[in-house]
């Protein structure tokens, strides 16, 4: 049937964009909160700032049900194998946001205990700087990730 004869309530799109649109609004998060940034993150996910608006309101406390890993806080060398294993347990497609100076780069800790950024352990999609970041910045990070998901080629 030629396209111009389609009725008004039918929209055409590309499969990639359609799946990206769906995935970007159903981010189930696993919150790996280890330090002070996690306090800030609590206010982000509570009703005042409300990650629900972005379809990211569903914290799953099992990595097998999550597709967005939020690293919120300092990562120590003692913890590194745990974080790595959690990331490996998540099923594809999976995305990682590093929240706070510590998770981005080690922050002001440069010593025997601290990993210099979560990306030394697992690949990270979005970096949110700040110590701690303002809630608006974390929301901005989630929106940046949604943008990225919508624009990438979807692996099926």
């Amino acid at each position: 049937m030629p396209e111009y004869t389609l009725p008004d309530n039918i929209i055409t799109t590309k499969l990639d964009q359609f799946i990206g649109w769906a995935r970007s609004y159903s981010l189930w998060q696993y919150v790996f909160g280890t330090a002070c940034c996690a306090m800030e993150f609590m206010s982000v996910s509570a009703s005042h700032y409300d990650t629900d608006r972005f379809g990211a309101a569903m914290p799953r406390y099992s990595p097998r049900q999550a597709d967005m890993l939020m690293i919120v806080g300092t990562i120590t060398h003692k913890q590194a194998p745990v974080l790595r294993r959690i990331w490996e347990q998540m099923s594809d497609p999976k995305y990682v946001i590093a929240v706070g100076a510590c998770a981005v780069s080690g922050g002001f800790y440069r010593n025997y205990a601290t990993v210099q950024g979560a990306d030394r352990i697992i690949p990270v999609d979005v970096y949110v700087p700040g110590c701690p970041p303002r809630p608006e910045m974390i929301l901005d990070g989630i929106m940046a990730l949604q943008d990225k998901i919508r624009k990438t080629k979807q692996v099926l």
Binding site: Y112, A113, V115, P123
Partner: protein
Amino acid sequence: MQQYWLLKDDLPDIFQQFPAISYNEEFGQGTFRIAATDLGKIFDFLKTHKSYPMDMLTDITAVDYLSGDYAERPNLTGREEDLYSESRYDLVYHFYSVSKNKRIRIIASCGGENPAVISSYKWWQAAHFLEREVWDMFGIKFENHPDLRRVLLYEEFEGHPLRKDYPTMGEQPRIPLRNPEHDNA
């Protein structure tokens, strides 16, 4: 203002029992410095003291004076031969008398190739974790401690990070680390 710290005049008997003790006072807080070999005796003394029984051990920590920047240790200058100096570390004990609301600070020096002192676990069970922490961070052994393992760091960790001769940025990763600039997944 009520005086919370035990000063020289509150404890005349400590000077009789331990003639080698030295005392100094700053900011209204007294510090009693004794020889590490006397620690066992002073634990007995404090725990069973008649007027101020110290029934609570609030903290044990240590100080490493290796680097020679301290007026307290003019003989240590951070040289290689100072590594095993007998007075390299200060052990700092804080005790509290719950019934009398008084505190006391005891300091003892130790050092040598394998620094070791007697454990205070027999007198105060709070010493269990505190001494494990000092062992973890400074490598000072406590003899007769029931279970002297690392408490904060992982078992594979080599060395003791709060020693002044531990490299400032000496990381010991447990898993191979990525180099994000070169291998982006």
